[in-house]
């Protein structure tokens, strides 16, 4: 199988790899770069567990080929916390509001909401729910996730206001 060399930034770190053209970004992250925080739930682009940010915009890493992110900047769940052993505001709000149970969909949820809160610092509940339709959760019934997103937005606004 023909390979191509790619170079990308993941969570601020530069990686250069020879990859098969058919390798998905999810498999690159998980199995070549050992960033197993990004999860694969359906491999057909519906469940959203594999959501990452590519150049700041959410994308399904299961439907993106690794060769497509050559020269791009990718952010995964491992890149959210300010330091090892700490949680960022959104992650902390998830713990405070029981926004996760099994934790499998959680990385995708966090990436989707990271984009939302960046672009819309004061979302309504219905805006939060709308954007979350791209991420399935089987455990929580979404209540804790929605509450966490709204609370994180509030805390971030307070932080930025002060």
């Amino acid at each position: 199988m023909a390979t191509r060399s790619i170079s990308l930034l993941v969570n601020g770190r530069r990686y250069e790899r020879e990859v098969e053209a058919r390798l998905t970004l999810a498999d690159l992250l998980r199995h070549e770069l050992a960033l197993t925080g990004t999860h694969v739930g359906c491999e057909h682009g519906v469940c959203g567990a594999c959501t990452v940010l590519i150049d700041g915009r959410t994308a399904r890493s299961c439907l993106t080929f690794a060769v497509q992110v050559d020269g791009c900047e990718v952010t995964t769940v491992e890149g959210l916390a300010p330091a090892e052993g700490e949680l960022n505001v959104l992650q902390q709000a998830f713990q405070d509001h029981h926004g996760l149970q099994c934790g499998f969909c959680t990385p995708g949820m966090l990436m989707t909401l990271t984009e939302l809160l960046r672009d819309n610092p004061d979302p309504t509940e219905s805006e939060v729910r709308d954007v979350l339709t791209g991420n399935l959760c089987r455990c929580t019934g979404y209540a804790g996730i929605v509450a966490a997103a709204l609370e994180a937005a509030r805390r971030l606004r307070v932080q930025q206001g002060s």
Binding site: L100, T133, R138
Partner: protein, 784 residues
């Protein structure tokens, strides 16, 4: 005494790792030299296997082996898989081979396995395996599976009936003969799946000598998995360790022991290499067990006041192609039907049939959602026919709290008489009615109708047997560094098992919650274990955690008293320190005590002292503890699209004493979401050849954030007298009555048209069909 953990909304110890991408799920595990497996699966629902030609696949670079049934080690090459819950009422005791031998009986049944350097190559290779199939007629519609001219689901069968049994008490026929009113419902419920976001996955790693086989599986039941593997591989139990690491949701289907869980370890042993298999979503739709196909014809006999005189009928249950978990679900369904109501006479005839679909085994609720749907449809029918309020009919028939413990008259799935231990059903319904102002609903409905909107309300009541045995163990041990290790056979697929057990241990031992080191889901951590199903872990493992902790606390006190030279009654234990109340309050830390308790090499322990500060307890419940509750739902139906929108959802839930309200609320909310799927969206469809039609999340819809409102939840706490904590299970109650309440609400929203629904899921086309059948659209356009 430090802050009490039990009963508090304690933040979960599971969360920080899962939130920062540091969870460890099976597919995250990697070993040098690891091979990747992919299964060749039957494309036919029923066929005889002629030959298998794997030569092209074997020739593909990167492929290490292609194995069929004959290549598996004895006895799993020839033996069928063990039945997990046998029952004398099972006539056709069929389980599958790990890899199919001569016959395949559902689409997706594993026929061969490819092992290759990468998942990509393994997937390429399965397309190159040529299997010769002689296609046979398949049983797809279970409603006709017991007809004489139906094809047989297996070549060896004379008919497709796996089991027939009757559940009854009183004299239903006599009650019906003299009853002033009898109403009958025909109820058709469809199958769906657990659909955990993480599909199944197995990694097997034999050590260099082959002496120890370690298996990681995304399972709810690692100890059961270990026992099955020992049987199928003919190995000593001690030579197998099974670990369920972080598991991405369970919901029942991961409680089953699967063929793949046997085949992957067998291939790893054969090739002496670590092997990984990760199921993809398409395989999960085809091969992970499902549930809910049931056809009910049930009648209710009532007096003029709507008081129940009897219930009788038939239940037809589709077990799919095999019977791996016995006949538990129809059995539970039949035992759940009477629910919270006084039903003097009851008779249900149950027939379980085989079809050529993947087997059905418990999915969150396990037969109970169907039974509650059937019973609540009957209650709504009584209300409608006798022109009584739906809530009032239920109030007139509730078992009263002073009747507890209440013997229903049946035998439950645990083999014990079905005796409700505690509960206050009228109170739960009152709480639910209050939460969404039931009294004012008629007025809300009238106002909505004036605005051209159709809103309705529905009630679902249920009683659920939870906390089933046989046991679950917990070991509590004070470590030399002063922390407290807790090990259990209970497992975690999102329930927060570590956190809730940690809360119990922290309080009862007298240590800080943060100082607890928890091991769950590892057979090396505790010798006996069962796992997660039947909402059983809080009762079984929770009670064991309490008992083991109290023993360890006693050991701590004894050793501290002895060492400090004070009476035992003088010692307090908190935050990991034993302190004497008298004198200048001398104290010993857990760290110091643990070291003392280890003893010194060569020196005998003082009389009465046991090695270490440690105890293992295995609590076994005397019988099920019965949780209960009321769901009340307000919906809006759009008659033009058939869409049902949930406006308001209230849950009054009684799972006894609550360990962590935040976690229980989360279980209820998540359970309701699953129930909304069952009520409105989730339908695993097959064509007439039993070919699955819904094998993606685009075809099979699970609820999204816009489908599930945040529920109003009230806890009615009736402690169970059957365990020392007073707890009952909470994992399934959110799902069980949801479909009953939602479908009733949708029917109520369209009450002016007189449409009737007795099917789940209630999909938009069914609503449109029903409205068309009564010419509703002509009336609607007149109104417009």
């Amino acid at each position: 005494m430090g802050a009490k953990q039990f009963g508090a909304r304690v933040a979960r110890m599971e969360d920080p790792a899962l939130l920062s991408g540091r969870g460890r799920f099976v597919d995250d595990i990697k070993f040098p030299g690891m091979l990747h497996a992919c299964f060749v699966r039957s494309p036919h629902a029923h066929a005889r296997i002629g030959g298998i030609d794997a030569s092209a696949a074997r020739a593909l670079p990167g492929v290490h082996a292609v194995l069929t049934a004959d290549d598996l080690p004895a006895p799993m090459d020839l033996n069928r898989m063990p039945m997990l819950v046998p029952n004398p009422a099972i006539a056709a005791s069929l389980t599958q081979h790990c890899l199919a031998r001569d016959e395949v009986c559902y689409v997706g049944q594993a026929v061969a396995v490819v092992l290759a350097d990468s998942r990509y190559i393994a997937e390429d290779a399965i397309a190159l395996v040529e299997v010769e199939y002689d296609v046979l007629p398949a049983v797809s519609d279970y409603r006709s599976a017991d007809k004489p001219d139906a094809p047989r689901a297996h070549l060896t069968l004379d008919d497709n009936v796996a089991s027939k049994f009757r559940m009854a008490y009183g004299d239903a026929d006599a009650a019906f003969a003299s009853a002033p009113h009898v109403f009958t419902e025909h109820i058709w419920q469809h199958r769906g799946g657990g659909m955990a976001l993480e599909a199944r996955a197995v990694v097997a790693n034999p050590d260099a000598t082959g002496g120890l086989l370690t298996v990681w599986s995304a399972t709810q039941t690692p100890h059961i998995c270990r026992r099955m593997l020992a049987d199928l591989l003919d190995r000593d139990l001690e030579s197998i360790r099974v670990i369920a690491p972080d598991v991405g949701g369970g919901f029942g289907p991961k409680a089953i022991f699967y063929a793949e869980e046997a085949v992957i370890p067998a291939t790893a042993l054969k090739l002496r290499r670590p092997v990984k298999w990760t199921e993809d979503r398409r395989e999960h739709f085809m091969c992970a067990t499902q549930e809910r196909d049931q056809l009910w014809t049930v009648s209710i006999a009532v007096d003029d006041g709507g008081k129940i005189l009897g219930v009788r009928g038939t239940l037809l249950h589709d077990t799919g192609a095999f019977v791996p978990w016995g006949i538990i679900m129809p059995y539970i369904a039949a035992a759940t039907m009477p629910g919270p109501y006084v039903i003097p006479n009851y008779a249900l005839d149950i027939k379980v049939v085989l079809t050529n679909k993947v087997a059905t085994t418990p999915v969150r609720g396990a037969g109970r959602p169907q039974a509650v749907f059937a019973m609540e449809r009957l209650m709504d029918r009584v209300a409608r026919e006798l022109k009584l309020d739906a809530a009032e009919v239920r109030f007139r028939n509730f078992i009263q709290p002073q009747q507890m413990p209440y013997a229903v008259g049946l035998t439950f799935r645990d083999g014990k008489p079905l005796v409700y231990d505690s509960g206050d059903y009228p109170k739960a319904q009152n709480e639910a009615l209050r939460m969404i102002d039931y009294a004012a609903f008629k007025q809300r409905k009238a106002v909505a109708r004036e605005q051209g909107r159709f809103i309705g309300i529905g009630i679902g009541n249920y009683v659920e047997g939870t906390g089933l045995g046989p046991y679950e163990g917990v070991t509590v041990r004070v470590l030399p560094n002063g922390k407290v290790a807790v090990a259990t056979g209970a497992t975690n697929q999102g329930q927060g098992t570590r956190t809730t057990l940690g809360q119990i241990v922290a309080d009862r031992v007298g240590c800080r919650f943060e100082e607890i080191v928890m091991t769950v889901g590892d057979t090396a951590a505790i010798p006996q274990g069962v796992g997660a199903f039947a909402s059983r872990q809080a009762v079984n493992a929770g009670s064991s955690a309490m008992i083991a902790s109290e023993v360890v606390r006693t050991q701590v006190i004894k050793l501290a008293a002895q060492t400090l030279g004070v009476p035992e009654s003088d010692i307090d234990v908190e935050d990991g320190i034993a302190v004497a109340r008298s004198g200048n309050r001398p104290s010993l830390t857990f760290r110091e005590l643990a070291r003392l308790a280890q003893g010194m090499p060569g020196f005998s322990l003082p009389p009465g002292q046991t090695p270490g500060l440690e105890h293992t307890a295995y609590f076994t419940p005397p019988q099920a503890s019965y949780c209960s509750g009321t769901h009340l739902v307000e919906v809006e139906v759009d008659p033009m699209t058939g869409a049902v929108k949930i406006l308001n959802y209230a849950v009054a839930h009684d799972s006894g004493t609550i360990i962590n309200p935040m976690i229980v609320d989360g279980q209820i909310q998540g359970g309701v979401a699953h129930g909304i799927g069952n009520a409105l969206l989730e339908w695993m469809r097959y064509d007439e050849n039993a070919q699955p039609l819904t094998t993606t999340f685009a075809d099979y819809l699970i609820p999204m954030a816009t489908d599930v409102p945040t529920c109003k939840i009230v806890h009615v706490e009736s402690p169970s007298p059957l365990n020392p904590l007073g707890v009952k299970g909470a994992g399934e109650g959110g799902t069980i009555p949801a479909a009953a309440a939602i479908v009733a609400a949708a029917e109520d929203a369209l009450s002016e048209f007189g449409v009737h629904f007795a099917e789940t899921p209630l999909v938009p086309e069914r609503i449109i069909d029903a409205l068309r059948a009564v010419d509703a659209y002509a009336r609607l356009s007149e109104i417009a």
